[in-house]
């Protein structure tokens, strides 16, 4: 039975992290190279973690399933990365960034963690700039910023519409420096299949070499999961298609609590689905809402081309409903508002499942060139996909699964409920509560990796210096390897008729319909039943061609879908348990008269951390959220 201890340092909010750092134990340089650390993942959390731990002198082994660390899904982040620099003199501060994230998350995140990420945010920008990340600049040579949803200041640093690529390549370059220095060893095209726990401590992982199919054992004094989010459970999402939950899920099954699994962000602006063969939805960055105005026709079922609909017949519903924040309301609010209009019959496009994002007024005011400079690559991408020129006609957008606030439960030190197992970046649950604000994920991932984990993991490793290199010929490694092999054989031996993709699509639809933008008791109950049936069918009728001892992409997919079929059930269970609405979790039974999320702080101001319980239902542990520094308020963007 696990116990949750968040280990939040005492003292005033602003002093907690300083105090922690002051008291944290250190490892002396000579001892560091005797300590091995495994980092799984090379995205905007994993690459910074690995490189900075390497810089400190630890012996780091890094894993990813792509052919190179530089292709981790973070590369696709578009809009930007937040920091409290206040370069615009518009009233920003560490406190305001902290408050925006807490409020944006609808008061379901831990104050101390959020304050800390706001505190380190400025250093992230300094570091990226110093290692050559070309952020956008003003004519005078200083860095520039733009605005994102849910805030009233301009604090988002960016590189056109490809900020993720630029910061990830920066992080990758530091990783390369450490690879050259010999402190970091890179293992690409490896998929973690299991976690090895010895005497209650995470001591290694089992991976499959995706080229040869060989199963490998890797040991370490500590293991860090930086394996990203699980938004691909919806099948159609804005994530890279290979993103998956398997590493976190294996950790869960070995004893790491999974927190708030049902908190999923549905992003308001993606290119709407065009056909049934589509395998992913393309995001159109939130930054576009800086200049684009969202609207639908005032008349139901108005099928005229957008440009023929006169101004007075357009409903700029976000500006109408939320005058203070207008088009820049947070994502959960914007997504539900779009769904509401479309469900009511005002949607546009061939399917009626889309709303307009219109740049006409911005182009009129700032000129086409200015708009091109800010969003050129997004307009191009949109045109490649749809054939529509958004300099002339509005874009059509619709919500899509995007980001998972839920993830492995971690304490203040970013350690899971398994001693020595850390989780950083999107893989943990820690900072975004029930809804993440735009451009805060790159901030959180890079902050975790560069500026937080190096301190907390050292504190953990200090007493470990007496522990010699962990051997891989132990019964625990043997057992974990056998489990992994057995599972592969099981997947291959079903020899049914439906592919992993067939099952993934069906699961995705169940999740989207019943555990997506809005949720009900009846829908969730139905989903539980459907997922159970689907999982049974999966193990009776799955078809995986090929064998285990070769590169086999169908086998990789099957393993991931098998895990999604279990995770889906936990997400639904969590959504059922939380009989309130908060942030992105919208229970129809719990809304204000004007259809906003209605929280129930008396009953649900807690983190729901689920413990795996073999074949029994998972066990719920509550971490009560104490708000000592901010006042719990009904969120309002009016």
């Amino acid at each position: 039975m696990i116990t949750l201890n968040s280990k939040i340092p005492e003292g005033p909010l602003e002093e907690k992290w300083t105090r922690y750092k002051k008291e944290a134990k250190l490892v002396n340089p000579a001892n560091k190279k005797k300590l091995d650390i495994i980092v799984v993942g090379t995205g905007i959390s994993g690459a910074p973690a690995a490189s900075s731990l390497g810089e400190l002198g630890y012996n780091v082994k890094v894993f990813c399933y792509q052919d190179t660390p530089r292709r981790a899904h973070s590369v696709a982040a578009q809009g930007g990365i937040n920091a409290a620099k206040n370069y615009k003199n518009d009233g920003d501060s560490v406190y305001r960034l902290f408050y925006d994230v807490i409020k944006g998350g609808d008061f379901r995140a831990r104050e101390a963690n959020v304050y800390r990420i706001a505190e380190v945010s400025n250093q992230i920008i300094d570091h990226f700039t110093a290692i050559g990340v070309p952020f956008a600049r003003e004519y005078g040579g200083t860095l520039t910023t733009r605005s994102f949803g849910g805030v009233q200041v301009s604090r988002t640093f960016y590189s056109s519409g490809q900020t993720g690529q630029q910061v990830l390549l920066g992080a990758y370059s530091s990783l390369n420096r450490q690879i050259k220095a010999g402190t970091v060893t890179m293992f690409p095209r490896r998929e973690m299949l299991d976690l090895v726990v010895i005497d209650g401590k995470a001591r290694g992982i089992i991976v499959r070499n995706l080229i040869t199919g060989e199963i490998e054992r890797h040991s370490a004094h500590a293991v860090v999961l930086a394996t990203g989010g699980y938004g691909t459970i919806y099948y159609l999402s804005t994530l890279a298609v290979n993103s998956n939950a398997s590493a976190a899920w294996k950790a869960y099954k070995r004893g790491a609590a999974f927190a708030n699994p049902s908190f999923v962000q549905i992003h308001p602006s993606s290119v709407p689905q065009m056909n049934e063969f589509q395998s992913k939805l393309t995001l159109m960055s939130e930054s576009l809402r800086n200049d684009g105005r969202v609207w639908v026709p005032k008349a139901k079922g108005d099928k005229r081309p957008a440009n023929e609909i006169p101004e007075e017949e357009r409903d700029y519903y976000l500006e109408r409903r939320y005058p203070a924040f207008g088009n820049l309301v947070p994502r959960d609010v914007a997504s539900r508002a779009a769904k509401e209009r479309c469900d009511a019959g005002y949607g546009v496009g061939p399917t009626g499942l889309a709303v307009n994002l219109d740049f006409r007024d911005a182009i009129k005011k700032q000129g086409k060139k200015a708009i091109e400079e800010k969003y050129g690559n997004l307009f191009e991408m949109y045109k490649d996909i749809t054939g529509i020129d958004s300099y002339v006609e509005p874009m059509r957008i619709y919500p899509a699964g995007h980001y998972t606030m839920g993830g492995l439960w971690v304490d203040y030190e970013l350690m899971t409920t398994i001693t020595g197992l850390f989780a950083i970046g999107e893989a943990n649950f820690s900072d975004h509560g029930a809804n993440r604000l735009g451009a805060s994920s790159l901030m959180q991932g890079a902050g975790d990796g560069y500026f937080i984990l190096p301190y907390t993991i050292s504190n953990y490793l200090a007493p470990e210096i007496k522990v010699p290199r962990i051997k891989t010929d132990t019964p625990e490694f043997q057992e974990a390897e056998e489990r992994a092999v057995e599972r592969i054989n099981r997947l291959l031996s079903v020899k049914g008729k439906q592919t992993a993709t067939d099952f993934h699509k069906r699961l995705g639809k169940i999740m989207w319909d019943h555990c997506g933008m809005t949720r009900t008791e009846a829908g969730l109950t139905e989903a539980l039943k459907l997922i159970g049936e689907l999982r049974e069918e999966f193990w009776k009728d799955l078809l995986v061609p090929g064998s285990a001892d070769e590169l086999n992409q169908e086998l990789e997919k099957a393993g991931r879908v098998a895990d999604f079929l279990e995770l889906g059930e936990l997400m639904v269970t969590d959504a059922l348990n939380r009989r309130e609405s908060c942030g992105a979790h919208f229970r129809e039974e719990s809304q204000t008269p004007d259809h906003e999320a209605l929280r129930n702080d008396d009953k649900f101001a807690y983190v729901a951390a689920w413990e795996y319980n073999n074949d029994q239902p998972p066990v719920l542990h509550r971490e009560d959220l104490k708000f000592e520094f901010v006042e719990l308020k009904q969120r309002s963007y009016k």
Binding site: P48, S51, E55, Q66, D67, T68, P69, R70, R71, H73, V75, K85, Y87, D126, H127, T129, A130, G132, P134, F135, A136, R137, E138, G141, L143, S159, S160, Q162, G164, Q165, Q166, S173, S174, N176, R177, I179, K180, P188, I211, A240, V241, N275, F277, Q278, S279, K280, T282, M381, D384, I385, F451, K497, T499, T501, L543, P545, G546, E550, L551, Q553
Partner: protein, 244 residues
Amino acid sequence: MKLKLKIWKQKNAKSDGAFETYDLDGVAPEMSFVEMLALLNQTLAQQGREPVAFDHDCHEGICGSCGMYINGYPHGLVKGLTTCLLSMRHFKDGETIVIEPWRAKPFPVVKDLIVDRSALDKIQVAGGFISVTTGAAADANAVLVSKKKSDLAFDSAVCIGCGACVAACKNASAMLFVSAKISQYALLPQGRPEAKERVRAMIAEMDKQAFGSCSNTGACEAQCPKQIKLFNIARLNREYYKSY
């Protein structure tokens, strides 16, 4: 629409490969090339046949995973697009499409359309970084950078490392790729302190990885999905001469 696909199949690095022909029905014009291949694979899998292995991940032209010759051209003939963004609108009903993995000595075939591009990583490990340790940086605005230079640095930093430039070059030269990286750092003041060591180290590694030399044909620029410009190669050469 209906297509005939001639695709290179090769079990692994050691075995010989050969073309195999597949008929594929039900291709929609709005599909991307990668989605078309996924449809083929889904069809093959359902028939219990072995799917075609190929790399793809982001489907947004940004991760650089996808890449193959399409009728002899890396990422196909449409300018400025990766394979995952190339839409089937550009093909005709009944057309035969020939699909092959990158052919270049430094990129051995791993399986079917997948090649090993780790040589590109090795070049970056050799020197593609600025040696600033975490925590050591001054305020981001302490060094001013002209917008023009910063924008130019960004234009070369958008390289996705797909390897199409190498695949397009008859000498299998990686000059466009290396020049993009060198240019980014050469243009930024932050990159200047190590400029000499960097360019020498990266060029030496490039030669070691058996990439060919550049004979200025410009095929790389023509096929680069991110439109990295040839003048980066001129800058690379200048940086290289300056380093001695």
